[in-house]
Symmetry: C2
Subunit: 477 residues, 2 copies
């Protein structure tokens, strides 16, 4: 058992050092690695396969709402980036600049896109003429670059993968509707597919996107009680349209500005999957997103008929994403390895099982073992994967709820943030000063003003003035 | 009919000006547009949907051969690019350089990847230790940047989309086998899915990839008789492995260098689809790659029951990618539009058809019209799409063969290149000098030394010395 232990022992326990546990899981589950380019990552096959499943599922959901995919250039000329004032202030300090093409210096610097609002606006200004051209509901899957100083795999890196949707509408109402619709697509995707419960709400002015009128967000709670912004959807009103002169002739034959939205989800969400579901044995993947849902491990595979039986089970389970581990490693090593990699369900089949017409099924999330008759294998596997999926969501929801507190007074608030990792619900007057004081004193930021508002008190938790909104506060990634 | 004509008349005929015809089709079929960034393109929904189908189909074929997808950084540090001598000489003159991150100058310049051999090698050097780690068969879908001086949509642009596979193997034989295997994946994909016949062969030393021992290529012939390199697969031997120190402990416990390959296909292939199949009415898409395979056009759609009938047909054809054009445009305009967009099959349904229990099917490739009973609609549509697909390949093959000549003497060669657009087969001594003279005098380059060699003569068509290889020559994109 020495070898098996070695694999597991290499992970720091999450209670001991959560940050190190995270790094260990990323590395041992072979999700990604550091590249020679500082702050950039190499996404390895096990990590990229998760991203492919996220892409497929999100893309399908996008297209059901009428989204069309396009591709915009990777470069933004400096002049274009500067057209919308708030936007350039938000992004200019953290972009990478291209100054030479081949051996020649460029006449105008190009930045590597940190986000593509300006490119879409520039395109829409030429492409939209009439109300017949609206709405435009475009999206692209690409990488973006932001010159971060401190980086962590998936959570914060100089380059990351994402999708960015950019839409243009004839009316403000339609833009608002699309902004909310896409937030709900993200929220449903997180809950139904990733088994991650989220709070849906609006960002404060301080936390909203550079150039947006309103930013909506979904916020998830990690196992260590810190929050992670998991997807955002922005309503730009007609601010970008005015800066970029995106006008259309409406049915009444007058020229009007379009109303725009943008919305994005990135490889950051893989960090959330790790930190919501993982445990001290490694990654735990929800079945609906797992690249491999079922791993079949033959026991005493050198014995006649065992490997054949394992492959026979694989054929029977062809409705799932299934693999057989027929390597020459010991079963114990294989168990540790598939636990580390987060494969939801393990099927063990050995000579005794075969003789008895049964197999042993082991859940990754609970380690629960059940012996099932081979006669019912497909149904049992299907049922167990469904159970794992819903149990994981339920467990994450319970953890989130158990780590959501509320505070009415300032002392109570400071103490709660300090002593109870998680969300803290508290009332807010709406002033930036209170938001800044809260951050400075407690390290907690306003995560969102949830759509589901509650009235906890009449006054702001910070200044005591009349409260306008209930806010979820928390320390965050 | 004035409106319908306007749409069609906007295309230059290919006989008049092929280059302008190409640009017109790209623009009128709404495949792509120029961006504000010089030499970069915006790939619009109709163009990107073709690329998505190419991705899905190629990716499926890759994975069947054991390929795993990954993602490498967009940047390459200058020092890394310089590690392999031939490679840096080939690419350094045409890369974009990032010199600033945020407000700070970088200590080392980064180039935006023109191709990722150096990144994969850098990664493999850290990641491969033992024969157990081999083979590594990785691929990524991404964009790359090459600072081209003259650009054309899809064919040559400063940024384009592609996939690049990079593999590492224990033996030279295995690397050679993988190089050929992937070339065949490309060739089969072109012929079976894109209906583009290709010549499979090897590049001469002059035309091979910077740093490769051997480059294999598939060459297609466009409608104007010019060739287009449509996919390449490179065997690197152990050249990169030695430059990057990629070694593994073999079964015999000695350290050995890996043998590597790389292979790529890009959005350039969309240019080939346009130029092989298009006609003076616009794009013609092979059914297997067409985002919309069947378009249903209701005639007199304001009459009761017609739109319902059209949607009823759509439901019945749910096994295909099908759309109903229920816009308020005239049927004639709709006909022109779906021809411009290359939709393989049009179904017309009007009051008379409905009364007679029939529909009119119109092939995009031949304009052939047939009336079919609604009872057999699914089978007829399926059969016709299959026929269109195979007829398109057959037609392209006949065109290619009719535009393939051969020459034995120098005078014959010069005259043939000049007078007969297309491939010219001729013998070659293997000397660079002859290759250069042929290019200088005729503008034709060596496209490939086909795997299917023929003996046309004993001597080189250029110098008269003993011939070593038969070569396909041609002017090319």
């Amino acid at each position: 058992m020495a070898k098996e232990k070695k694999l597991v022992e290499a992970i720091t326990s999450m209670e001991e050092d959560f940050a190190q546990w995270y790094t260990d899981v990323v590395k041992k589950a072979e999700l990604c690695d550091y590249a020679s380019v500082k702050g950039c990552m190499v996404i390895k096959p096990a990590g990229y396969a998760i991203w492919e499943n996220i892409q497929n599922e999100l893309d399908r959901r996008f297209k059901e709402t009428g989204v069309q995919n396009v591709y915009m250039p990777v470069f933004i000329p400096e002049g274009l980036l500067q057209k919308e004032k708030d936007h350039v202030e938000g992004f200019a300090p953290e972009v990478a600049w291209v100054t030479h093409g081949g051996l020649e210096p460029l006449q105008e610097r190009l930045c590597v896109r940190p986000t593509s609002e300006t490119l879409f606006c520039d395109f829409y200004a030429k492409d939209i003429h009439s109300y017949r051209d609206l709405p435009r509901v475009y999206n692209q899957w690409c990488s973006v670059v932001r010159w971060e100083k401190t980086t962590r795999p998936f959570l914060r890196s100089r380059e990351f993968l994402w999708q960015e949707g950019h839409t243009a509408h004839a009316t403000a109402e339609e833009a608002e509707e699309r902004t909310k619709q896409m937030l709900n697509v993200y929220a449903d995707f997180c809950e139904e597919v990733l088994a991650i419960p989220v709070i849906r709400g609006q960002k404060t002015d301080k936390e909203k996107f550079a150039g947006a009128e309103a930013t909506y967000t979904i916020e998830a709670l990690m196992h260590d009680g810190k929050a992670l912004q998991s997807g955002t959807s922005h309503n730009f009103g007609d601010g970008f349209a005015k800066a970029f002169e995106i006008q259309f002739a409406d049915k009444d034959n007058t020229l009007k500005y379009v109303h725009q939205t943008s919305w994005g989800m990135s490889t950051r969400i893989i960090g959330a999957i790790i930190m919501v579901h993982g445990d001290n044995n490694g990654l735990v993947l929800p079945p609906r997103i797992a690249p491999t849902q079922v791993i079949i491990i033959p026991i005493q595979q050198q014995k006649e008929g065992i490997l054949d039986a394992a492959y026979g089970l694989k054929d029977r389970l062809s409705g799932f994403r299934v693999k057989v581990d027929d390597t020459d490693k010991s079963p114990g090593w294989k168990f540790s390895e598939c636990e580390m990699r987060g494969i939801p369900l393990r099927v063990e089949i050995g000579p005794k099982d075969l003789a008895a017409g049964q197999a042993v099924l082991v859940r990754r999330d609970t380690h629960e073992k059940v012996t099932v008759s081979l006669d019912n294998l497909e149904e049992e596997v299907s049922r167990m994967l469904d159970t794992i999926q819903s149990d994981m969501l339920e467990r994450a929801r319970k953890h989130r709820d158990a780590h959501t507190s509320q505070a009415v007074t300032w002392d109570e608030f400071v103490k709660t943030v300090d002593e109870k990792p998680g969300f803290v619900k508290a009332m807010w007057c709406g002033d930036l000063a209170c938001e800044e004081k809260i951050k400075e004193v407690t390290g907690a930021t306003s995560r969102c003003m949830p759509f589901a508002q509650e009235h906890l008190a009449d006054t702001c938790v910070c200044c005591g003035k009349p409260a306008k909104k209930m806010v979820y506060w928390g320390r965050a990634y």
